[in-house]
Symmetry: C2
Subunit: 233 residues, 2 copies
């Protein structure tokens, strides 16, 4: 019964917050009046209130009210009672840390499995995978575990970047990092470029947006998936 | 009694492994005949043997023999008996994971505090700081802690990168990530560009190489340190 949008980014270059997704979200959240926002990832360390205000402003254009999970006394009940849920981007380590500290990870998984509509962007998408071991974020806090929701049977690498031709920088490319991951892990990884998203309809997962996405399976050459295809691992 | 070189990278663009540092290393390790190599970070998942062979080849040009810590029955004793130690780059999460699994972190700290000469590059430099919370690496494994050697009173961001002008990528810049770190942490962070290194002489720390380095203190505007200066936090 899953109904999820898992987006690489909230914002594409030269466009406002969630702007490129608004038409999709209008139809995806057609019956929704109030959205529960999870601001735990705090991009640039912004407060929960300020982050919730940004989400609220974007969703007000499609007549959806946004409430932050921090505005509820009991975050678990807020999730159980939510019409729909949106987890915004920021730092994945801090997001996962707070999901554990507030003891809501299993509750969130439960409602998503039961069909509560969900939008994730960036860090909010990384947590939909089996674990957060493919985030690009800096480990600024130490979460009690890297295990995440497992609502899809693979991991996400959000903001996927192709190697920059002619770069003189010697730090690892994204592809090298994912290959290192596969020395220690078997889980497949989908590199979602900015502007791509996944639509999850029960157990089927489709690639949306204009771009291709890069699928990394252990011990196999990475492949490019075309927009519109069902992602099969 | 500390005597350490903490380098941003092993390799600069267009040059061989450790090549830009060899003259410095020849004088730094003047009396050293055998170097203990810690290959735990496994760049691209390379084996300990293959990685040790790369280090061995580079150091053979300055007449130093290299032995991998994995070639010893007791890694703790290998560290205690080492003439000098080199920890190579790769994945910081796996490096720290193995330092804990082999129970050698405190032993390594002890010998470095007592004057065993040390070279770190990239991940091998990140571990010299208080914790590994400023690594750029992907969290491909979950180490039991992010706490590292604390041989210097701040953290390192190796391979420091300035924002790329005109980039259309919406992922966070390095500076933004370090600012996020300072929302949750008080520790200062030194962004070391490729080609820069720190020379630690007892408790004095000097910036070496041709470039400036970027020092981030909590709630302060970052500053550029000139090559040659003592790094004061």
């Amino acid at each position: 019964m899953k109904k999820m949008i898992i987006a690489s980014t909230s914002t594409i270059h030269g466009s406002g917050y969630l702007e490129y997704l608004l038409l999709t979200l209008k139809s995806f959240f057609a019956d929704v009046k109030t959205l529960l926002f999870i601001p735990y990832a705090r991009p640039s360390g912004i407060t929960y209130d300020a982050y919730t205000a940004i989400a609220h402003k974007a969703f007000s254009t499609i007549n959806i009210e946004v409430k932050g999970i921090h505005q509820f006394k009991n975050p678990k009940e807020a999730i159980l009672n939510a019409e729909a849920i949106f987890t915004g981007g920021g730092n994945t380590f801090e997001l996962v840390n707070q999901l554990y500290k507030n003891d809501v990870l299993s509750t969130l998984k439960e409602v998503l499995e039961n069909g509560t509509a969900y939008l994730g962007t960036s860090a909010g998408s990384n947590i939909c995978g089996i674990n957060m071991k493919n985030t690009n974020d800096m480990p600024i806090v130490y979460p009690p575990s890297f295990t995440t929701l497992g609502c899809i049977p693979f991991n996400i690498n959000a903001h996927y970047l192709d190697p920059i031709k002619g770069s003189k920088h010697m730090g690892e490319t994204r592809e090298t990092r994912i290959k290192e991951f596969h020395v220690f892990n078997d889980i497949s990884v989908l590199g979602l470029r900015e502007g791509s998203w996944l639509e999850v309809v029960d157990n089927a997962i489709y690639l949306r947006g204009k771009l291709t996405a890069r699928l990394f399976r252990k011990n196999q050459k990475p492949i490019e998936l075309k927009s519109g295809v069902e992602v099969l691992i």
